[in-house]
């Protein structure tokens, strides 16, 4: 150690210095992350689910910050203080481990990880899937009335059916403000994924599967709908604008659609959870 090269100079207490550096910087950085960065984290407050994700992202970032600082400060500290002098052939201390440090590390990381998983589970169940596709029979379902909307994905567009409005199929998505929406996402060809980024909703569209996601928009807005699972050459073009409008405006819009698409609705197959087309064969 330093004592070898400069006899008489006491070795600084690295453990205390490093811990102090880390604790102080974590105490400064973590509140900054929570209060300054947190509110501006994506995906915003377009829906209850999206606001929930902002909270989740803030919590995860707040937990990640001290860990990030621990390693980064360590690397910087070590590369400043634990250097081999130029051309030196000094050896470090022959320490092969420290059972107290190791045990503490195992216990602390395990507790951190378990609390993370517990937090995620609570959030997932409390928020009824948190806007993600939860399969045909979601474990938890929100109470109260829900507006069912079916999202049908195909190469390379989404269409939407409103079963409570005569099964009308529209080419754009409009949702009433402040109402719980039950999205039934399915596909009629390959796998797609319905992603309304600002609403915090994502659900894969699998052929033959009814994938349910819940979302409750919290204000009137327009939002982008994109496909987020690679589905063929025009995958990048599979996007559309959707709107959240007032319940009254929604009623007007949906009745317009019913009239407009009445001839099409007659020839459509009856509303069903999934649609099973003939498999497409390239040879045919």
């Amino acid at each position: 150690m330093a004592a070898e090269t400069h006899p008489g100079t006491p070795e600084p207490n690295h453990a205390r210095r490093f811990t102090a550096l880390w604790v102080i910087s974590s105490l400064i950085a973590t509140p900054l992350v929570i209060f300054l960065l947190g509110p501006s984290l994506p995906p915003g407050n377009g829906s209850e689910q999206a606001s929930g994700h902002v909270t989740d992202n803030t919590v995860l970032l707040a937990m990640a910050t001290p860990v990030l600082l621990l390693v980064v400060i360590y690397l910087i500290y070590a590369s400043i203080f634990f250097r081999q002098p130029k051309g030196g052939v000094l050896e470090g201390p022959a320490v092969r481990g420290d059972s107290r440090v190791q045990t503490a590390w195992v216990v602390i990381t395990s507790v951190l990880v378990l609390s993370l998983a517990a937090y995620g589970t609570v959030r997932l169940l409390a928020d009824n899937g948190a806007g993600s596709g939860s399969g045909p029979k979601p474990l938890t379902v929100p109470k109260g009335p829900k507006l069912p909307v079916q999202v049908i994905a195909q190469q390379w567009a989404f269409t939407y059916r409103y079963p409570t409005y005569g099964g009308v199929e529209t080419t754009h998505l409009e949702l009433p403000d402040n109402e719980m929406v039950e999205l039934h996402v399915t596909s009629i060809d390959v796998i797609h994924s319905f992603w309304a980024y600002k609403l915090g909703v994502k659900a894969d569209a699998n052929p033959g599967v009814d994938n349910i996601a819940f979302v409750k928009p919290t204000h009137e807005q327009s939002f982008e709908v994109r496909c987020s699972e690679l589905c063929g050459i025009w995958h990048g073009y599979m996007f559309d604008k959707g709107h959240v409008v007032s319940p009254a405006a929604f009623e007007t819009w949906i009745h317009e659609q019913q009239t407009k698409f009445a001839p099409a609705t007659k020839v459509l197959p009856p509303y069903s959870k999934t649609y099973s087309p003939e498999p497409t064969r390239r040879a045919e």
């Binding site: 994938n211 990048g236 498999p279």
Partner: protein, 632 residues
């Protein structure tokens, strides 16, 4: 050529005609038989499909013909290299030819050779070639993403580039560390004269090379639109280029499985006396853990791709919903392989980092047992997390809390590796040489990769990040930041041993710093892009994201240039100037540095006997806790 055993040492007769040199089992024969086999398979395929031979050049799709062509092509290629000689001569009761062991000189590197040191160098060059092709694809992808609408390539070519880049990197780089470094150094590190199965060792390399060229050949058949995941039913719908993907990955799987088996057998059975499991170099432990994963995961991949090939050729409908199959089945099977696969990529990196640290910090490895249990823990847990790739798919949604838990638990054993890293560096005497710099960069990159993984493993938060650029940034941090950085650490550390030559110090430092800065400048903004709602694998994006995308593209070009610096360095230092390396430039106490350079054919005159692990560095502490004397 192989008439007498003495041929090994006697030089080739002078004035031998060229045609005589070309005849025999070598790369030329292999290419001729490979092409011949390809056309034979193509012909048979068209006969089976009931079409006339004249149609073979028409644009008509014939998956049977292409798959058979690849199959016969690979078989012909391997026969041409001489892989059939040994089994055939044994079957016929004749003495087996040992030609591959006898030949000396540069020719060994261009054909079947069972010397593990030759195979290691073959791997290094071969994998480097495909890494370069994969990297070029990435450059083209980033060129396209300079604009929010397609300007440079069409959407079909774009997807082909994305698929080629991903598949090339995930497939070829699976053996990125095990191929060159484990093949070369594991036998030396454990005091063995060879691998357990030398012919299988050579086979894994040539299978991988055949696979690489098959993947590149996809451009002649329209490419494939699925990315490296190859999801059904898009897979079933795709043009013939998809068969190249299927063939490529099946061959890579076979190569992986054989490589893993060979490594396991070598490490279990061929350790020198005294080399107990608790004295095994940590790199060998990481190779062992990786090999277990390879052997267990790769067969799943091969089976999955066989089913996909049957779907495509004879309409079996394993994965096609309309025919009674399920697209979920493919996702499950693929990720059952695919998740262990990403740890197959990461684990050897852990091994290299922990192997190099004691050398450069001049301290013993801190927490050896913890590091080993970390590696084994990661490999065990990696089989129980695969559905976190399917959090929003609706599959088995009630089990999401379980997969969330298992995924997050994996960070505990991964944390062991970090603790061992930090413990080894604590109060050390670290020389920041180029390999050490790459190890420190690993710690930083993998930390960011791991912490971003927390956002993906949290099911509610994953709703936003799944399938976005965030995921892409995450796995580039873990795989490129974890595997490629340690791959370069291994190159700078071990190439002086493999070749007896060293790299130019200044160019190496330029390479490291440009690569590290450009890497972070490329992939950090991708987290933001993903969070801002940009999906993966698209060539169109919101114009508001253009500025950031241009930044990323320019950084990616600089990253590409940093690879060019490496290439220039390698050509300049190793071929033109031929800088002689010292016999042990790092003052390492590991066994591979104690044998002469170049390593003799049989590694050791006498099998060594071990009485400790190779981390005997540092000054022992006295009773009071202070070092007794200055280090030796």
């Amino acid at each position: 050529m192989s008439t007498t055993a003495a041929a090994a040492s006697t030089p080739q007769p002078i004035g031998r005609p060229l045609w005589r040199k070309l005849i025999g089992f070598n790369l030329l024969t292999a290419v001729i038989l490979g092409v011949g086999g390809y056309y034979l398979g193509w012909f048979i395929g068209h006969q089976i499909s009931g079409k006339s031979f004249e149609f073979q050049t028409a644009t008509d799709e014939n998956d049977v013909a292409l798959l058979l062509a690849y199959f016969f092509g690979v078989v012909g290629f391997l026969i041409g290299l001489g892989f059939a000689n040994y089994p055939v001569s044994r079957l016929l009761g004749k003495p087996a030819s040992l030609r591959e062991k006898e030949e000396q000189g540069i020719g060994r590197y261009f054909g079947l050779c069972t010397d593990h040191k030759v195979v290691g160098i073959q791997y290094l060059v071969g994998i480097g070639l495909f890494f370069f092709i994969g990297g070029l694809n990435a450059m083209l992808i980033r060129t396209e993403l300079l604009h929010p609408v397609p300007t440079f390539v069409g959407p079909n070519q774009y997807l082909s580039l994305v698929g080629m880049h991903g598949t090339m990197m995930m497939g070829m780089m699976t053996s990125g560390i095990l191929g060159p470094f484990a093949n070369y150094f594991v036998p030396i590190m454990i005091g063995a004269r060879r691998m357990a199965f030398p012919r299988i060792e050579a086979l894994t390399f040539w299978l991988l090379m055949a696979a690489g060229f098959i993947l590149v050949s996809t451009i002649f058949f329209g490419g494939f639109p699925t990315g490296w995941t190859g999801y059904e039913p898009l897979n079933d719908q795709a043009v013939m280029g998809m068969d190249s993907y299927i063939c490529f990955f099946a061959l890579v799987g076979l190569s992986m499985c054989l490589l893993g088996l060979n490594m396991m057998a070598t490490i279990i059975t061929m350790r020198a006396p005294g080399l107990t499991w608790s004295r095994l170099p940590i790199f060998v432990w990481s190779v062992f853990a990786t090999s277990v994963l390879m052997v267990l995961a790769a067969p799943m991949l091969i089976a999955t791709l066989l089913m996909a090939a049957l779907d495509r050729t004879i309409s079996t409908s394993f994965f096609v919903a309309g025919g009674g199959g399920s697209s979920y089945l493919f996702e499950n099977l693929f990720w059952f392989f695919g998740h262990p696969e990403v740890y197959i990529l990461a684990l050897p990196g852990f091994g290299i980092v922990l192997e190099l640290l004691p050398v450069f910090t001049r301290k013993p490895l801190w927490g050896y047992r913890l590091a080993v249990s970390g590696m084994l823990g990661v490999s065990l847990l990696s089989f129980f997390v695969w559905q976190h790739h399917l959090f929003v798919s609706g599959i088995n949604a009630d089990l999401r809390p379980f997969y969330m838990l298992s995924t997050e638990i994996i960070s505990v054993p991964t944390g062991f590796i970090f603790l061992c890293f930090m413990g080894t560096m604590w109060k050390s005497r670290t020389s920041f040489t180029v390999p050490m710099l790459f190890c420190v960069a690993w710690a930083f990159n993998f930390l960011l990769g791991g912490l971003s993984g927390v956002f993906l493993s949290d099911s509610p938060s994953d709703t936003d990040t799944h399938g976005s650029f965030f995921v892409m940034a995450h796995f580039h941090y873990t795989i490129m930041g974890g595997l490629i950085f340690t791959f370069f650490a291994g190159i700078y550390y071990w190439v002086p041993k493999m070749t007896g030559l060293r790299f130019n110090e200044r160019l190496s430092k330029i390479h490291f710093w440009s690569m590290f800065v450009a890497f972070n400048s490329t992939f950090l903004p991708l987290f933001v892009l993903g969070m801002e709602g940009m999906p993966r694998r698209v060539s169109t994006y919101s114009p508001s994201l253009q500025a950031l995308n241009v930044w990323v593209s320019i950084s990616a070009f600089v990253l590409g240039l940093s690879m060019l610096v490496f290439l220039v360095n390698a050509v300049y230092s190793l071929i033109f100037v031929r800088l002689r390396a010292e016999s042990n430039p790092w003052r390492s106490k590991s066994l591979e540095w104690q044998v002469p350079t170049p390593v003799p054919v049989n590694n050791f005159e006498q099998i060594p006997v071990f009485d400790s692990d190779p981390y005997d560095y540092g000054t022992p502490l006295t009773v009071g806790g202070a070092p007794a004397t200055a280090g030796a």
